[in-house]
Amino acid sequence: MSDRGPVRRRPGRVLHHKSKAKRVTSSGNTDHPPIVELRGITISFPGVLALDNVDFSLRPGEVHALMGENGAGKSTLIKALTGVYSIDSGSIDVAGNRQAFHGTSDAEAAGISTMYQEINLCTNLSVGENVMLGHEPRKGGRIDWKAVHRMAAEHLEGLGISIDTRSLLSNHSIAIQQLVAISRAMVLDAKVLVLDEPTSSLDRGEVEQLFAVIRDLRDRGAAILFVSHFLDQVYEIADRITVLRNGKLVGEYLVRDLPREALVTKMIGHALVDLAAISSTAARDIDRTDVPILRASDVGRRGVLEPADVEVFDGEIVGIAGLLGSGRTELVRLLYGADRADSGQIEVAGAPTKMTSPRHAIDHGVAFSSEDRREEGIVSDLTVAENILLGIQAREGFRKIRRAKQESVVFEYMTALDVRPADPNMIAGNLSGGNQQKVLIARWLATAPELLILDEPTRGIDVGTKADLQRKVAELSEQGLSVIFISSELEEVLRLAQRVVVMRDRKCIGELDSLNVELDGLIDFIANEGKGSAA
């Protein structure tokens, strides 16, 4: 924090990203006075001190990463900066002017634009309408649609995208939608751009495209706050890092001064769980002579998934690897009965079974935790306890589980998975993403499944919790639970699984013994296997 200069206020200093005058070329500039200056920010919720006297500053022409575990206060800080929460004490200065935000519109007026993890645009409107929404040029009192689309196209081209501005936003990929959101921020003439987990649903190429735009904006003098759980990406794009832990500021560092291990240690407050220990747990022999827990043959659905075969044995972790949209989620949804397969057979412990509904799958000891925590996992207005009990309560039907049993189950699994805060009566929607994930796993473990299907359980979760979850999964499989584990992070899949099913273009293209394959080999397999012959 020593490199932070004294506060210099220059009222009226406004950066226009479009002006050619100021082009900052080198990354990690330290010579600019901060455009955003947060001092002594404190925010408390009933029973929780979410932010405790935190200082944070953002300089023009830098990409600044905000790092911390789930519940460290990152979201709260962002929400203070963007006017969602009002602060209990402390001060916010933007371009030298003291601010009192009473809503997001105040923050937007001050030049702070936010892009959330879930894109908040109108997908049923055209690209151009979205870019110019609320700022449509007018002619004689009516909206000049020609000008709308022309200006939108100019803004988009400024970011290096040329798409038809009259096309529906919903027809474009999430990546394009995000770039549209950014160009919208440009229309609002934002000096500060807040990007909250912008890359969580992008593939590699799309991330590159986004990063090119971010670098361009930075070089034009915008101040960019970047939040991501991907350490690689932080080290690729960020110039400076601020670390929070338990609502307190740990420190502000230049990226080049902070090696990865040091960052992780600062985030979680202690050294990381030994990941090597997890891999050694995984590296054990699985008895594949017995009847498999689950055997799916030729399971598919027209237009969704080509017929695929999967076997999972007792105590085995089977990984599914492949790019987003390769059919990973589609496959496990068919196995679970969330969608119906129109071909193939499924055997559970040797007995042929029709997976017609989730209810049916649960009765056969199969549990499935969806990749979409918010829409398909957590019931947000119910309490943590009610969420954990939902699985077993659904099985019991209308007979209410006895209170004593409820309490013991909730206590057992909240402790086992270390759900924080440890308050069973908290509304589940208020938990951080990582803790919501733990609650969901608790829900499924409470049903005592034979096979647990985890679809992207570590997405959007900090390194510490990620490692905890992996260790927990390894532990459970050692105790005999079979697991299907899907993750975009191939290291995780290789670390945990004994076998990896590889998917591409909505079909299974092969199976690897993960003990005998390295990361490069897996990536190569995903990219190239069968390319020559299949065509």
Partner: protein
């Protein structure tokens, strides 16, 4: 201030107080022939149909649905009951009336099941699915009565709405029993929490193994049965089956009662007690219109004004505004203690 029923209850108490101040006999209850009489007793008696309909509406709304057909179901139920009594040999026989009531309730159950089928099995949007019956139901009722307003003179049937049981109106006992039954079923079993889960996040609930189809179906069936009972009480009160007037606009009042009681139209968390208070507010309001002598031309405006005040009192933005105002007043007082002292001294 913290309890979510605070504002509805406060509004109800305030309404009663205003009436009592305006005309003191509003709150007076007299005993005659071993029965209570008074404006408040009338409110308890007259709220029965709306109470039953609103109970069903609460459960349906909790599943993210809505039931517009409640008024039409009331009309069908009344038509069925009165046609049976009318065509029987002895309208005053208790047996006939019991048969009529049971058949009418079964017919209403059938209509509720039909709504539930359209919504949960076919997947039609609730507002559209129940609109069908809302429009067609009254036609069915007219068909049953042959296009006439069937009237009967049956002492046991009239007892349902006008009779007394131990000091209090029989209709009051009916709705108390219904509230107790729905409350017990929802909260003593897991139905309540499963209904809320389905209402908050249907897909997550389905993936968690909740049989959401059955839960949604049962909500519409319950709404049908409760509306059917309401229809019987209504028909008993006017001693006639009027297919057009029975339960007219009651779906709107029921939705209003549910909302006044603090249950969100977005589904999920619901409050039976809140709905009870909501219905009592509406019924008290209707009584006050009569009691305070508001002319019939002005009564909708009066009604609307009070409802707006109650709804605004409950709105979170207002609460936030008041809190901010209070805290700024408090902080001003803290920062300027000296001037206060000077002024005082």
């Amino acid at each position: 201030m913290k309890h979510r029923l605070f504002w509805p209850v406060a509004a109800l108490v305030l309404l009663i107080l205003i009436n009592t101040v305006a005309r003191s006999q509003f709150a007076s209850i007299t005993v005659r022939d071993g029965r209570f009489y008074g404006a408040l007793i009338d409110i308890l008696r007259n709220s029965a149909p709306l109470m039953l309909v609103s109970l069903g509406m609460t459960v349906v709304i909790a599943t993210r649905g809505i039931d517009l057909s409640v008024g039409a179901v009331m009309a069908v139920s009344g038509a069925v009951a009165l046609t049976i009594i009318d065509s029987s040999a002895d309208a005053n026989s208790l047996g006939t009336v019991m048969v009529a009531v049971v058949v009418a309730i079964l017919a209403s159950l059938l209509l509720g099941v039909w709504n539930g089928f359209l919504v949960s099995a076919i997947g039609i949007q609730p507002i559209v699915a129940t609109l069908v019956l809302m429009l067609a139901g009254r036609g069915v009722a007219l068909l049953i009565t042959g296009g006439f307003i069937t009237t009967v003179n049956s002492t046991p049937f009239s007892f349902i709405s006008t009779g007394y049981l131990v000091l209090l109106p029989f209709a009051f006992f009916i709705w108390v029993a219904a509230v107790a039954a729905v409350g017990l079923i929802e909260r003593r079993t897991a139905l309540g929490v499963l209904t809320e889960a389905v209402g908050i996040n249907p897909e997550a609930s389905r993936l968690a193994g909740v049989r959401s189809r059955g839960i949604i179906w049962s909500a519409y069936a319950a709404s049908g049965v409760l509306s059917g009972i309401a229809g019987i009480i209504y028909a008993s009160n006017i001693r006639a089956a009027d297919a057009n007037a029975a339960g007219q606009f009651i779906e709107l009042y029921a939705i209003l009662a549910v909302v006044l009681g603090g249950t969100s139209l977005m589904g999920g968390k619901f409050s039976i007690a809140g709905t009870v208070v909501g219905v009592l507010i509406i019924q008290t309001l209707e009584s006050s219109i009569l009691f305070l002598g508001v002319s019939s031309a002005q009564s909708p405006v009066f009604f609307a004004a009070v409802v707006i005040v109650v709804v605004v009192l409950q709105s979170p933005p207002l609460h936030r505004f008041v809190r901010r105002l209070a805290s700024s007043v408090r902080s001003r007082r803290l920062t300027e203690p000296t001037s206060d002292l000077e002024a005082a001294g």
